[in-house]
Amino acid sequence: MEYVMTATSLYKNYGKFKALSGLSMKVPKGSIYGFVGKNGAGKTTLIRLICGLQSPSLGGYTLYGIENRSPKIVKARRRMGAVVETPSIYLDMSARENLKEQYRVLGLPSFDGIDELLELVGLADTGRKKSRNFSLGMRQRLGIAIALCGNPDFLVLDEPVNGLDPQGIVEIRELILRLNREKNITVLISSHILDELSKLATHYGFIDGGRMIEEISAEELEAACRKCMRIEVTSTRALALVLDRMNIEYKILSDSTADVYSKLNISAFTKALAEAGCELISVQEHDESLESYYINLVGGN
């Protein structure tokens, strides 16, 4: 698999505080990588490092295979755009002027593409309105438009839906999906709004205490989180015999509990269990969400 960004044993200390403690991660090309962690887990610190705003205390990362210490990293950064925390925009300029300013920074030969960008983020009709008069959602979209100047193929968004109203959240989600699907832009999104992230991400990285706890694809996560019946019985040995006979997929969790991944005819199932000398104690529908998966992963701390 080709990776846009990799990090190996990254450390970042602020005085005695360790914001990152040996974090390693890989962002596959073409993915929407959901970077999940609670406040203070180190999400923004990692983003600041890969954006070049700060330097790692130890360890390193690569962008398009180029090491962060290599002078060529500057060229690799030309291929990325980012919105770190709050959108970085000149409040005394209009949306168009802000984009022109970024075009100048990038040294682009003409302002072609600005109309398309404004259209893409839904700010085409803002005219001369100063961005200080924009709503939070509009500012966020302008921030993304600035990040898209220069046609990057890696977009880093730090908490892009924080503080947005439901309409704003839907707009940003649709924008990210369009960018990923239509322009094939790899997106790294940090968030702790897991429900929203689960509607977007193709890959997840779970971070806690400055360390990567687990990296998993959306398919793997779906498999791990699929709906099941959690059954408590007096003997899982007898349960296994019955389920094998009924040709039902299951997973034994302990001597008394198991997850069953098909619908059951409860009457027939209870009768079969009784014949095998096993008692059914309880049946619960179990639907593990991204949230509960994450909580289980980090130990609910």
Binding site: Q54, I73, R77, R78, E85
Partner: protein
């Protein structure tokens, strides 16, 4: 770097504050200088020591020493407070180049302010004629004032890249400007103390109780700054941008002229520009940004 300069200058020219300050300086300089020139012509006996140079510079350098920190702190502070500095770094602009582009931009703005003052001060020309020092002498003074502006900008640029809070940096730079102006003023006044006090009277009473005033004998001034301290004070005064501002403001004063070390102050300004820009580039390269 040309990309960064193009972006910075575009922002500078769009900044209302820049144009407002330049126009206010131009108008103030024009009116103040013209008014002073008219007064000199109307009452020449009151302004015997006032030459065209003195009224051209007068308050100018002091006003510049206040306006430049206000502008630099707000212009560069915006980069950090709006977070737009990040947009430059994220897309791969080198920090050294970002710093240099910022320094060049605020220096250019300072020079525009300086030029606005000088252009406004030309209003004295039709009234008083050419400067006593001639055009060449005037150009030297213009060069000195330009160097003082750029040196001051170099110091302020470094501060603006260290303190990234817009309000804090504006407050700090204004206080800093006032503090070094006070320091410069103190040194200047100390150095102006005469070595010998020759004027003054002593008052004694005769046997009838009448006061008799007698001229005092010349005697040494206890506040006179003697060597080697004097040389140090003079060099510090000619090094500090505020000291240079005060010397420029009093350029036609014969006492002040003795304190002026034109070549030294030009070299000091050049050294300040080089040292502070190099230090700023190094500090900014290593600075963690949010």
């Amino acid at each position: 770097m040309s990309n960064l300069l193009s972006a910075n200058f575009n922002r500078l020219f769009k900044k209302k504050l820049f144009w407002v300050l330049a126009v206010v300086l131009l108008a103030y300089s024009f009116i103040a200088t013209y008014d002073n020139a008219l007064q000199i012509v109307a009452e020449p006996e009151l302004f015997q020591n006032r030459s065209p140079e003195s009224i051209c510079f007068d308050e100018g350098p002091i006003v510049l020493a206040i306006i430049i920190p206000v502008f630099v702190s707000l212009f560069l502070g915006t980069e950090f407070s709006d977070g737009t500095m990040r947009n430059k770094i994220i897309v791969g602009s080198r920090r050294g180049q970002i710093y240099l582009a910022n320094f060049i931009t605020v220096s250019a703005a300072s020079l525009v302010f300086c030029a606005a003052w000088h252009i406004g001060a030309l209003s004295a020309l039709p009234v008083l004629g050419l400067w006593d020092a001639g055009v060449f002498g005037w150009l030297i003074l213009v060069l000195k004032s330009a160097l003082f502006c750029v040196a001051f900008s170099a110091i302020l640029c470094l501060i603006s890249h260290i303190i990234t809070n817009k309000a804090a940096v504006a407050l700090f730079e204004i206080i800093f400007a006032l503090a070094i102006l006070m320091a410069g003023s103190y040194l200047y006044n100390e150095l102006l103390e005469p070595e010998i006090i020759s004027s003054g009277v002593t008052i004694t009473s005769d046997e009838n109780g009448n006061n008799i005033m007698q001229p005092m004998e010349p005697h040494p001034n206890p506040y006179y700054v003697a060597e080697p301290q004097r040389s140090v004070y003079k060099k510090v005064l000619n090094t500090l941008p505020s000291g240079q501002a005060i010397l420029l403001a009093n350029v036609a004063d014969s006492d002040s002229e003795q304190l002026d070390l034109p070549l030294y102050s030009c070299c000091a300004s050049a050294a300040i520009i080089a040292v502070f820009t190099a230090a700023g580039t190094i500090v900014f390269r290593k600075k963690d940004l949010k």
